[in-house]
Each structure stands twice: as structure tokens, then as C-alpha cells.
Symmetry: C4
Subunit: 291 residues, 4 copies
């Protein structure tokens, strides 16, 4: 469920083959795994509505007042959605050519996680709230409803994220070092009587502070602690620029390359970097119709 | 009232036609809808002063002490401004050629919202505070007082925002997914006894935390909750770079294109990207006077 | 005391002419207004030490414990520094050619503000804490101690800030509109019983929230208030990118132009954009010594 | 232990020479200071495991409950690790050619700080928590486990940080000026009764506020204080863009230069900026195999 697997996930439904080329399993496969107009499109829309409704039920059920008044209704709806999704999951396993590959894919796991908590809630109280993971199934939405341009944009963002991955990891590693050292330092300086009850708690506080969240549930009270906190904040303020810088530079690079690729002269294949060029600057071929 | 309609709004007064070409309606139209020196300019300045004063009255009226001492004065002023603005709105409807188009335009709606709350306050207590929406009428200011260059700059910013719109939407969608999942997770881990009274409240907390606002009205108390919070913060810290990166890259593109457009050789129309060039590098024509 | 006047301020000492070309006033002028080695350099260093010490005294004097024990000492030091700085100010007025122009310049005002609070404290208790404004006198430091390269860097930053000025103003205007409208909205929704005691307080809260500071001294308690807050935060999160984008794009432009300017072939004056070029790519002249 | 010395540190182990060319000291030197496969690699992995375990022991020991139950075990482990690391440190001193240069290098100091606190804890209670500085020894990890590409990325980031160093210092200096002035101002306005107990505390609050951390442990209560806070926040919001802009622009420059360097035609040495070029645009030489 990393960022990269999310990126791959968005293209996977069409990668699967039907288990058989004819019969009901083929028809079910077409409806479930395809997205063109007609029955597949209708199935997609019903599925999205069901997912959104089922997540809404879970969220509303957590409100004490609503739970008191409508618990039986929510309970029935939850089981209803779970049974429908369980049947859908079983069908997907049945009609796909390589069920194990599907079950191990990003959406295969999400589909399983979308029904498991209800069954678990028979044994473990509260686990039904994990059903909100169903919301990830909506990612399929991007393929439907002609949102292809959004998929392109998402792909561009993910490509830039993937390219800046190593730099960001180096950066996170540096952050964690600072968190450990400042966490221990503040635990020594402030101590349990000022809320820094242990080094792990101090590390939590250091993360909250460096990321400029600053809940204030724990805050330094001694003069030395406030001085060290100021240092930590100035460091955090200085390095908040780093991931932004990394990502912006990579994104600008990706955009530039994409522009170079997309704007080549169809006649001589020379890149035409000027966005408003009407004729190729090298061979004079017409690049776009005059408006 | 989206960002885009704001952009269009700034150019609209001159798009309207007078209802009649002569008579008092034509004269009123010129005063209200035009902005050149003389009566129209004076009208604009009086209008801006009235708007600012009326918003100030609403703001001051909300102060308990001032309300106690000056309630009748504020009440009178409020009704005074409302009646003046109502007359102005009626005049605009009367003198414009296509009143329905005006009433449905961005400023037409704002003009209506600027008088409605006072009339509503006869029936619904407190609604008069919505009068602050009048402040949006000031956006007209940009056209007056020779602030044209600011309109250009605003247009540049809005163009970049519009270009990065789809990318930002993909990003907001990703945020919302994280908010739902971490909201439910924290509700399960911390529970109502630590302030996470329901999933919607937990989602509110997740937004407050990811955006690094961190009020601290709700904060994790269990060790596991603090660990999950740290993860959430690190993710939020990592992706705060994304919209900045998107917008910066788009703005840099927009600026570059604008520069290419604005710096073409007047003789051979070749772009002259060097900012300090005196002669065109292609045909040798004089680009600017030597200083 | 705007950003721009700060930029100008850093070059001003050398812009002043001595009142007379010989005699003690000329000698004092050279010591005070010049920065070369010898007496002027020594004067600068003593002045910086005096400024830092005097600010430190003000800061330490505000600590209740230190004030209790050392109040007489701090009082004496404060008056000592004030008298020294007053004499220095009087000398500057005396020896400069156009005293009014000096008194009205950035550092002329700062110099006056650095002595005024002590004299005022004879009449108004507490005003001596304003003496910390003396710290601004340190800005002169940049010229001394061969910090010229820092002045260049500061100039580059200020140039970019100046270029992005209009865009940032448009942005601040948009922020203020949002602050007024969301402030009034939250005052209506939450009301005085939840800490939103008036619209000005709500506007303060809206600024604290949009800028992701989030003190938590005021926080929404109703479900609707938390929802509106989430919207406000998402908007704030989205537009935090705008000033960064503006400034980054302008700074990148400024850097590029500076690089183009600074890297011209000394022989044929063609720009040489490749940072590691040894020979001019146009005429083959040697650009830099091989390492 | 500045950022720059961290950068140099990552390349230093191989800079040292053995004290003798043969005998046990040479063999120990090869194991400790080298990183190739076999014994040196095994030593590295064991060392990393020992460092991580020892830091974990320190962190867990700070938890009150765990300390109560396992204090003797943690105590024994701490001394065990300290003795092992002390022996390792002694060996490093013994087998290296210039022990003083090693002891004064970045990792030499870290190695010493990694054992000192335990010995100090015999005299000063609590100092053993400083042992978390051991985590910095992990920085050596980057050389091991074939993480060379990460070292490259880190080098790129550090080069950009180094280039933007002067600009960031100018920026920090500006921040500190604002902190002193707003700190004194808020101390005057709010005073000790609202939590601003002294100017240093107000300066701490100003840093917490400008960096958008906003703990809320101290917050303005007077109307004037809230107004000044709003101004401070808007200023902070505006200048948060500055270090991001600086760093992004420098990083983009560094990336571009690196790309120009890495993509030169092997035949004529002309830079080939088009990422997807197959032939050199100048001499026609084949740049990369067709895919």
C-alpha cells in the first residue's frame, strides 16, 4: 500500500484475464472488471454509491447519539453491505484467470480488508470501524466517469514523488536522528514533572514541534527547555524547505520533459519548446491550426 | 463564488450594456457602471467608503461592550447602509440592459447578499453578522484608483491556480482518503474518553493535524495513539510539499511564457529571452533604448 | 521601516557628506560614518558591542528575579548606554552636511528610537522595554567586518521580495477577505459561549488558523463549527503554496538573470550560461584558469 | 557537527591510513575501517545492530514502568554496550596512523560521546540518556549495504544547502531581529499576568508563533495583543516562503548543472540537454543504445 503501488493500482483492472472465454463467468468478468458504457458502467456507479454509503454508515454509527437511536438500522446496513461486498469479492476470485495474483494485488487486498472487519467484529468489539478502509476502493473511480485526465495528472505527481523518493528518505532519516537526540535532551531538561514522561513521549513531542503542528498538550516550562525548543523550531523551520525544494525541482523537471516530449514537430521530430509556436522553427511545418 | 468566477468578476462591469441610450437611466448607468474620472470615480470612492464603514459597523457591533453602549446607533447605521445599498441594487437592475444576467453574475449575487441579511434579521436573530460579505464588493476596487497592474498580477496568479486545479484536486482527494482512514484509526485507538468522541470529530482532528495547525483541543494520550499521530504528521509533513511544488512549477511556467511573449523582437518576432539584450540576437534590430 | 527601506538603509552611511572638510567635525565624521580599518573600524566594533550589551540589559531586566536582585545596576547601565547613544546621535547631527536628511533616513529614525524610550520612561513606566529596537542598529554590522558578500545576498533576496511585492499584496488582500468572512461565520456558529466572543476575536482566530499556527486558546466545539474549520484549514493549506510559489519563481528568475550577467565572455561579451565552461563557446577566449 | 561536517563525515573512513602495514593492527584496521564484503561487512552489520539495540535500551529505560520492572537488565545491557564500544574506540585509536586526527574528526567525536555518558552517569544521575547520540554513528550505515546512491543524493542536498547557506543566515538574522522586537512589544502589551512573564519568554513565544508551531501554552488575551499577534503571524506567513524559495532555486540550479555535466556527448563533449536524445545534436555520435 505504498505510494508506488497506489500508482500501479490505478491501471490494474484491465491487466487481468477472464478465467474462461465464454459462459456466465465471462459475462460476470466483463461487468466487474471492465468500465465501458452499459452494464459495466452501471455496475461501477452502483458500486461507488454502495462504497460511499457503507463508509457513511460506519462514520455515522460512531456518533454516540445516532448510535443510540439507530444502532439496529446501522447494524443491518453494515451486514447488508458486507454480504454484498463478500459476494462481489467471491465473484472476482471465481471469474478471474489467476485468482492468487488478483488476491495479492493492491485492490485485491483492499477488497478483502473491506469485508474482514465486519466478520472480525463478531469476535473483537469495535473492529467494524476499520471498515472505512473501503474508501480506498473509490480509487477505482478515477478510471470511470471519464476521469482519464485526472489519472494523467495523478501519474505525473506520482512520477515526481517516485523520482524524489531517495532524497526524501535521506531527509526523513535526518529528521529521525534529530527527533531521537532532541527527544532525549528535552526528557533530561524538562523531565516527567513537565509532561516529558519518557523519551518516546519526548520524541513524539519533538515530531509534533519540528513539523510545526504544536498541539501544546506537552510544552516546555523551564527556561533552558524553552531555549532548546527555540533551537529545535528554528532548525525545523529551516528544513521544512527541503522536501518542498526537492519535490518542486523534480516536478519542474518532469513537467519540462513532458512538454519537450509532447511538443515535437510532426514533420522533422525536433522539439519545439515555445508553447505558442505555430510553425516548426527548424523545418517550417505547421504545428497547430491558427485560432 | 469559486476562484475562477472571482477572476472573471474583475472584468465584468464594463461587459454590461445600458438599458437605454439616453435619459436619466443612461446617466445613472454611466455613473454606476463606469469608472473614469469625474462623477463615476466619485461614486466609486463614496461606495468603497460606505462598504468599509458598513463592514466596520457590523464588526464593532459584535463587541459586547460596544453593543451595550451603542446598539441603537449601530442599528440605525446598519439600516441606513442597507437602504442605500438596496436603492443602489434597484438602480443597477433598472438601468442595465439585461437585468437577469446582471443579477446572476458574481457581483450581482454579492450585491444581493450585501442587503439580504439585514432584511432577514427582522425574522432571524443574528443573521445581520452575515453582512460582512459586503467586503467582497471591495473587489471592484481593483479597477478603480488605477490599480490595473494589480489586476494583471491577480490574473497571472489565477491563471496559474486554474492550470494547477486538476493536480490540486487529485491531491485533496488523497488527503481526504488519509483523513477518513486515520480518523477511524484514532477513534478506535484513543476512543471517546480521550476526546476522540466520534469518527467525524477524529476526522476534524486529522485535518487539523495534517495541515500542521494543531489546536491541541484534542490530542492523543495513549502511547499507540501518539505513535500513529507521529506517522500521520510525518506523512503530512512530506505532502505539504506537493501543492507548493505544483503551484510553483505552474507559476514558473506561466511567468516564462509571459516573458517569452512580452520579449519578442519587434522586427523579426523571434523571442529574445535575455532580459538585458539591447539588440535582437537574430536580426540585430534595436530592442530598447540604451540607458 | 518597510522591507524596501531596509534594503536602501544598508547602503546609506556612505551617501552622507561631512558638514565641513576639515577640523574636528571632519575627523568625527570620518570615524562615525566610515568603516575602513583603524579608528572607524574600532568605533564600529565598540558600537556593536555597546548595542548588544544594552539590548541584553533590557532583556535581562525583564526577568522578575534578576530585576529584584540587580535593578539598580540595570538602571545605571541603561542610563549609561542611553547617554552614550545620545551623545553619538548629537554628534551625527552635528557633523553631517544635511542633518535633516540624516534624521529622516532609516537609521536616523532608528538611532532616535534607540534613545527615546529611556527618556520617556521618566514619564511612562515600562516604556524602557522598547529599547530593544536598538537591535536594528546592528544592521549596520553588515557593512563592517567584511560582510560584503552577505550584503550582496541580502540585496538579491530584497530584489526578489520587491519584485513579488504586488503579487504578495494581492494575496494578502485575498487572505483578509477570507478572514473577515470566516470570522463572522464562526462568530455566528460558535458564539461567545465557545470563546468566539466577538467578530474581531473570531478574525484573530481565523488568522491563527489559516496560517497553521493554531494556538488552541480558541477552538470550535460544535459539529458545524468543526466542519467550517476543516474547510478553512483546507483552503489555508491550499493557499500556503501561493506566496512560496510567487517568491520561488521570482527568486529563480533573479538568480538566472544574475548568472547571465555575471558570466559573460570578457572578450566577445556573449553570455556563457554553462557554469563549468573553461573557454567561451563563441570566440574561444579563456574564461577561467584551469584548476 | 555542522551540516557541512556531516557531509564530509560520510567520506572519511577511507581517508585514514593504518598505523602499521602488517601484523594484528593492520588486520584490525581493515576490519574496522573498511567496508567491503567478508569480515569488514560483517563487523559493520554487527556494529549497526549493537548501536540500534543500545539506543533502544536507553529509550525503553526512560519509560517509568519498564524501568521499574527491568532496571537491572537495562543497567547491565547499557554497561555491556558501553564496554564493547569503549574497546572498539580504543582499537580505533590504536590501529590508525594519526590517532589525534581521528579523535578530532566528526565520527571520532561521536564515537567518544557514545561512551562518555555512561561513565559520567557514575557521577551525574541521568546523563546516561545522552547515550542516544549513538544514533549518529548510524550515519556510517550509508557507506555499507551498497547505499552509495543515497550518499550521492545526500551529497546533492548538502551541496544545495551549502550554496544557500549565506542566504539562509541573512534570513535567520532577520527573523531574530523580529523576534527581539515583537518579544519586547508583547511583553509590554500583555505582561506577566497573561503568561508573558519576561522578554526571553516572549521571545520564545514569538519564535513558536512565527514558525507557525503555536503551542498555545502562552497566548495573547488582550485585544491589542491579539492584533499585534495577527500582524506577527501575517509577517511570519509571508516570510516562510523565503527559505523554501532560496533552497528550491539553489536545488534546481544544482540539479540542472549536474544534468548538464552528466549528459555530455562522449565524442565532442558538448552538453546534450535533451533527456531523450539518441544522437548528439552537434556531431551526431550515438549517445545511448536504442531501447
Amino acid at each position: 500500500m505504498s505510494i508506488e503501488s497506489l500508482g500501479e493500482a490505478q491501471q490494474h483492472d484491465l491487466d487481468f484475464q477472464p478465467a474462461s472465454q465464454r459462459g456466465w463467468r465471462r459475462r460476470v468478468f466483463d461487468v466487474i472488471f471492465h468500465h465501458e458504457a452499459g452494464a459495466p458502467r452501471l455496475f461501477d456507479i452502483v458500486l461507488i454509491a454502495a462504497i460511499l454509503l457503507s463508509v457513511l454508515v460506519v462514520i455515522l454509527d460512531s456518533e454516540a447519539e445516532l448510535h443510540r437511536d439507530y444502532a439496529p438500522l446501522f447494524y443491518a446496513l453494515e451486514w447488508g453491505f458486507t454480504i454484498v461486498f463478500t459476494i462481489e469479492y467471491a465473484l472476482r476470485i471465481l471469474v478471474v484467470k489467476r485468482p492468487v495474483r488478483y488476491a495479492g494485488s493492491f485492490f485485491g487486498i483492499i477488497d478483502l480488508l473491506s469485508i474482514l472487519p465486519t466478520w472480525l467484529s463478531l469476535f473483537i468489539a469495535g473492529s467494524q470501524y476499520l471498515l472505512v478502509v473501503r474508501v480506498l476502493r473509490i480509487l477505482r473511480v478515477f478510471r470511470v466517469l471519464k476521469l482519464v485526465r485526472y489519472v494523467d495528472e495523478a501519474g505525473l505527481l506520482l512520477l515526481s514523488l517516485r523520482r524524489s523518493r531517495r532524497k526524501v528518505l535521506v531527509f526523513v532519516f535526518a529528521i529521525l536522528n534529530l527527533v531521537v537526540i532532541f527527544g532525549a535532551l528535552m526528557y533530561l531538561i524538562e523531565g516527567p514533572e513537565n509532561g516529558f514522561t519518557s523519551i518516546p513521549v519526548s520524541m513524539y513531542w519533538a515530531i509534533v514541534t519540528m513539523a510545526t503542528v504544536g498541539f501544546g498538550d506537552i510544552a516546555p516550562h523551564t527556561a533552558l527547555g524553552q531555549f532548546v525548543t527555540s533551537i529545535l523550531i528554528l532548525i525545523g523551520y529551516g528544513i521544512i524547505a527541503v522536501p518542498t525544494g526537492i519535490y518542486t525541482a523534480e516536478l519542474a523537471n518532469t513537467l519540462r520533459e513532458k512538454q519537450l516530449d509532447s511538443s515535437r514537430c510532426p514533420s522533422c521530430n525536433v522539439p519545439t519548446p515555445l508553447a505558442d509556436a505555430t510553425y516548426c522553427h527548424a523545418c517550417g511545418a505547421l504545428l497547430k491550426e491558427k485560432e
